[in-house]
Amino acid sequence: MSTTAGRRRSHAAIARGPAALFADRSRVWWLAAAGIALGLVVLALAPTYLLLESEQRTLASVFMFVVLAQGWNLIGGFAGYPSFGNVVFFGLGGYTTAILMAKAGAGFWITLPAAAVVGLGFAALMGIPILRLKGHYFAVATLGVAEGTREVVINVGGLTGGNKGITVPAVGEKATTSYPGNTGFYFYFLVLALIAVVVVWAISRSRFGYALRAISQDEDAAAAAGINTTRAKITAFAVSGVLTALAGAIFAFQQVTIYPTQLFAVDITVLMVIMAVLGGAGTVVGPVIGAVTLQYLSEWLRDNFPDYHTFVFGGIIVLAVLLVPMGIVNFTREAWKRRRLAFFEAVRQYRL
């Protein structure tokens, strides 16, 4: 037994590679912890000392997309089920908050758990039948559910206001919760983004995370290893649904008036998929990197090329997908391992 342990340790030392440069591994953890703490302090103080209102608004949308990309990452990245309908949770979360605030006079904070429950329930309900489908079939089914749900929301106009939208009472006498302004939403979305990252990080290190990664590769083999694949997939989808619905809830309050076409827009799904995939699906930091770079890029292009920013944005995404299809995180990891930047590897490999 002791020889096994000894050998294990020496193998681990070899495998550690670059990190072995630090003689004491705990030092790396301290550095990482210090870096994270510093980052949090900067993010907390930035609205007061660094950022204009408009910049806070931009960052709030960046944080929101971190949540959406992380939510997609769980089902699309870790479990390998490419959902093209995750916006349905966003829309349902938003409408839950808007309806409860506008029709029931509920305060904003009470609507958050309600939105979470709706996201969870809907994910479980739609997951049970459609998580039996795989690959393209699953993608198309989720897309269909999201499109269909939007039509339903439009058609129950009595409750949702239909195409004319619904307005939450945000100012004046009727306001149930006072409108927090740009700085407020900066913090709401920041906190939710941090929660999303921590949740995904915790899952990635847990038994559940391993189960999802196994499922993404081979469900039969995962089941043979004792993994209840049905339960794991539905749980991943449900957590994804909760995070996404909460983002939708905050978004609805921020927008004050929301419309079905806006809250159930396919564009939002497409963006979260691209952010997660380009950053690195199935990793913890990948979707964060993807969301931050793409959302910033998008905003910057909008400011500097107002006439054709979507065209340029699309072109950049096409280029990025061609050059780093495995995502920025995996690309960097590979480059570090092989000491080589292989930008045209994918182009060569897949004859693009």
Partner: protein, 257 residues
């Protein structure tokens, strides 16, 4: 000795074809049942029926006296049943060690945490001789090592019933003996083992009993020595030339033993 695995008239139809038709077997603790037969005889389907990857059209599967017919694969895995797949199916996004750790995490002997399972995995890796390749990804393994990984994944589940679907295919002659030794040591530890194998010398050497399948049905069964002499087996599967060689091997073995 008690039967760890029993099947009663197990059957499975695919469309109009009887892939497995009324197969009844029984495997005791500490014994090895070998299954041979031509391609398409229903050997792998039989394993899939036992592990719940396929639902039987008729018949029962009984494990440790409990009827588990129709249960899901993960529920059957919890009954201390582990298997390998004919075509190796590693989790390519995980390291070799993590692949094996999955079995320790979700198998019947739950590891407390992901990390504890990773430690447990090393024991299984050591047994199959893969410990020095634990940090590689499955894509970097040779064919033989990929087979070893498949076996290590099953071992990490600490099975009482082990179903091996051609774990020796693609191994070089020199690599077969260690694999046989490993199966032998598992058998001696009380594991009930079902082996499908095309490497005749190997399966003859390790099996206590051989079941010959043909077109989904049992053709015959018996001790390895008797089975290779059976005319029907020779006709259906082995071919006359092989049979001669096998008989010669058996005689040699007798002379040596």
């Amino acid at each position: 000795m008690s039967a760890l695995l029993e099947t009663r008239d197990l059957s499975r139809r695919f469309g109009g074809v009887d892939a497995v038709a009324g197969v009844s077997i029984s495997v005791d603790e500490g014994t090895v049942l070998g299954i041979i037969g031509p391609n398409g005889a229903g050997k792998s389907t039989l394993i899939n029926l036992i592990t719940g990857h396929l639902k039987p059209s008729a018949g029962r599967v009984i494990i440790q006296g409990r009827d588990v017919t129709g249960r899901k694969p993960w529920a059957i895995a919890k009954e201390h049943v582990a298997r390998t797949f004919q075509i190796v199916r590693p989790f390519r996004n995980l390291t070799v060690r993590e692949n094996v750790a999955i079995g320790a995490m979700y198998g019947p002997e739950h590891a407390r945490s992901a990390r504890a399972a990773v430690d447990q995995a090393d024991e299984a890796l050591e047994r199959v001789g893969l410990l020095d390749r634990a940090e590689l990804t499955p894509g970097d393994l040779s064919v033989a090592d990929a087979r070893r990984l498949e076996l290590a994944k099953a071992l990490a589940m600490q099975p009482r019933l082990l179903l091996l679907d051609e774990v020796m295919a693609g191994l070089r002659p020199g690599e077969i003996q260690p694999a046989l030794d490993l199966i032998g040591s598992l058998r001696d530890a009380g594991v009930a083992i079902l082996v499908i194998e095309h490497v005749m010398k190997a399966i003859m050497a390790i099996s206590d009993q051989i079941l010959v399948m043909h077109e989904g049905q049992e053709l015959t069964r018996g001790k390895p020595d008797d089975v290779v002499k059976d005319e029907r087996v020779i006709e259906a599967y082995l071919g006359e030339r092989y049979a001669k060689r096998a008989r010669a091997d058996v005689r040699q073995g007798d002379a040596r033993g």
